[in-house]
């Protein structure tokens, strides 16, 4: 399965972060869709096609990332989740460790950490969609 068919959905309330992550993910050869809120994602057509969800925990207003995860579990929707957060505290870490997420990253994070986590989540060693310059 080519990477371009594997959809990575990104939920983050920060527009800049969404734009930057979309670029990275697309450069890595994945399709990417971005959402400003958990609710937007839940009501989108992308829900069924998403191979990996990059999910911010603290979303401004509405559901949090953890709440979205709980909702997906309740709805029996199985999507590997990579949590990202700008907030690092004991409580959040405890929650993350027991969340069953494939990975969690504290902002700001290195691109390779994210991409490796995505590749791990979608299964198999992903190849770059664009040929590197020799």
């Amino acid at each position: 399965v080519p990477n371009t068919t594997r959809l990575v959905s990104i939920v983050d309330d920060d527009r800049s972060v969404r734009r930057a992550l979309r670029r990275l993910v697309q450069f890595a050869g994945f399709s990417a869709e971005t959402f400003a809120s958990a609710e937007d994602f839940l009501s989108s057509a992308a829900l069924d096609r998403t191979a990996c969800l990059v999910l911010d925990i603290h979303l401004n207003g509405g559901m949090s990332g953890f709440e979205l995860q709980a909702q997906l579990t309740a709805d029996r929707v199985v999507i590997p989740i990579i949590f990202i957060t700008a907030h690092d505290d004991v409580l959040t870490r405890e929650h993350l460790e027991t969340s069953g997420a494939v990975a969690y990253l504290f902002k700001p994070f290195n691109d390779e950490l994210l991409l490796d986590a995505i590749r791990g989540a979608v299964g198999g060693a992903a190849t770059h969609g664009l040929a590197p310059v020799s």
Binding site: R23, A86, V133
Partner: protein
């Protein structure tokens, strides 16, 4: 005084408004008019031929007589035209002050003297009154605890009291007749003078009763602060000005001391407010980390995406340009967070000025937005459009808003409520006031706490110092507003403060 000319002369006498008596050189009355009869209470025939001494006992007849040294003509010549003040005696023996004017009248019987006699009782009474007044005034001047100086409209000193001598170190005779500028170099004489715009009376009228702070100069050249109070004094020489001069060195010192204490208190208050802000920022670290991490995340991801673009061929310059543009934007955004933080940490005197409260509140809300996100609180801004400017220190008012918002969020944390909404609302309240409300959906304030929450060191938080609301209230007080709290009917609490509308405009 016979014949036709005598008749004419008699006519003239009767027409005169004064009592007229014609006397010969023996001192006998030869002629008089109706006024003279009335004045002295005699019938004409009772006076004609009688000695003038009967009605003017002293000073008149003597003037007419020759003595060893001079002839009658010379004696008379000396008196012609001069107003002589004497005493008249009526038939009933009562006396009254008179002024007589003498003129010679040649006649067949030799030189006669016409005396025009004016009753000057009224004038004399007035003069006596004035003299009494002057005496009293002098008494008052000396009794006054202040240095008193009376100045005429030329700026010359006409009268002064002992206090003035002491205060300025001059003897009285060194000052009387001198310009008041010698002891009050500036600001006094100028006030008395007419200029193109006003008369002297107007100039003075403007100053009456007002305490004017000037500088006094002693004889030895040393100067001291004075306060003068002016009052006008009508006199025969025109309007005089009485200046009560008070040495305010002591008061000025006391005032300087008071000012110093006030400044110190103000400094202390500012230090406290600053310490409060530092504490607030301690509470904001979550928010700041969040607010900085977001742009840093975008910058890092964009930069690394850019590096990946560099590894492709052909080089997508358009995409690279977009990436760099985004990086610049996010860097600015991070810089803004730092700038807001620094302005909040700024230590210095409060700068009271007209400001747009809505704008200041939006900025404060941004500072806590990260915290709100992490805590799962929605901050809703309901800012009145066209809110008039208020007068205040932007940073301190932001501090007030931050404290109230953080308190509200704390209250909601404790409540465990699912719907955590904090409303920040502004509105005009009447013509002179703006009202800011911070409404939470938290636990509310217990009845027992309601009266105490604004007290220093009172806290309901396990790790609280009990300074936040006390500082917040003191800031609102200094701004001329009021801070109050009440529970909402539908749960949670509202903290509201008022601020006076500024009339300067922003």
């Amino acid at each position: 005084v016979n014949g036709e000319s005598g008749t004419n002369y008699r006519g003239l006498l009767e027409a005169a408004p004064d009592a007229m008596v014609v006397v010969n050189q023996d001192g006998a009355i030869v002629l008089l008019n109706l006024q003279a009869e009335k004045r002295f209470g005699y019938r004409r025939d009772e006076l004609v031929g009688q000695q003038v001494k009967n009605i003017i006992p002293e000073g008149f007849a003597e003037r007419l007589l020759a003595d060893g040294l001079r002839s009658a003509e010379d004696a008379l010549a000396q008196q012609i035209g001069t107003g002589i003040e004497l005493t008249g005696r009526r038939k009933d023996g009562s006396e009254f002050p008179i002024e007589i004017m003498l003129s010679p009248l040649e006649s067949a019987e030799g030189i006669l003297v016409t005396a025009a006699i004016r009753d000057i009782s009224v004038r004399k009474d007035a003069e006596k009154h004035l003299a009494q007044m002057e005496g009293r005034y002098r008494g008052l001047l000396e009794a006054a605890p202040d240095a008193m100086v009376v100045v005429n409209q030329d700026g010359a000193i006409v009268l002064l009291n002992l206090q003035a001598e002491k205060r300025f170190g001059y003897r009285r005779d060194e000052l009387v007749g001198q310009q008041v500028k010698n002891i009050i170099p500036e600001g006094f004489a100028e006030r008395l003078l007419a200029d193109g715009l006003r008369s002297a009376a107007d100039a003075l009228a403007q100053q009456i009763g007002t305490g004017i702070e000037l500088t006094g100069r002693r004889k030895d050249g040393t100067e001291f602060p004075i306060e003068i109070m002016l009052s006008p004094l009508e006199s025969a020489e025109g309007i005089l000005v009485t200046a009560a001069i008070r040495d305010i060195s002591v008061r000025t010192k006391a005032e300087a001391h008071l000012l110093q204490s006030e400044l110190e208190a103000q400094g202390l208050r500012n230090d406290l407010a600053h310490a409060g802000r530092v504490a607030t920022i301690g509470e904001l670290t979550t928010s700041l980390a969040h607010e900085l991490n977001q742009p840093l995340t975008a910058i890092l991801s964009n930069a690394q995406a850019g590096q990946r673009v560099l590894g492709t061929a052909p080089l997508d310059l358009e995409e690279l340009g977009e990436i760099l543009k985004d990086i610049v934007e996010d860097d600015k955004r991070a810089g803004e967070v730092i700038r807001r933080l620094r302005s909040l940490l700024r230590k210095g005197d409060p700068r009271m000025r007209a400001l747009d409260l809505n704008e200041a509140l939006v900025e404060a809300a941004r500072l806590v937005s990260g915290d709100a996100i992490v805590r799962g609180v929605s901050i809703r801004l309901e800012l009145a459009a066209g809110l008039p400017p208020v007068r205040g220190d932007r940073v301190q008012l932001q501090q007030v808003a931050l404290n109230l918002v953080l308190n509200g969020m704390d209250a909601m944390q404790d409540s465990g409520a699912r719907d955590r909404v904090l409303v920040l609302r502004t509105a005009t309240a009447g013509a002179k006031t703006v009202r800011v409300e911070v409404r939470d959906s938290g636990t509310g304030i217990s009845e027992g706490d309601m009266g105490k929450i604004f007290k220093t060191f009172y806290t309901t938080k396990p790790d609280g110092m009990g300074m936040g609301l006390a500082i917040t209230r003191s800031i609102v007080d200094v701004h001329g507003g009021r801070l109050e709290a009440h529970n909402n009917p539908d749960g949670g609490a509202t903290f509201a403060f008022t601020l006076p509308i500024s009339h300067e405009g922003t």
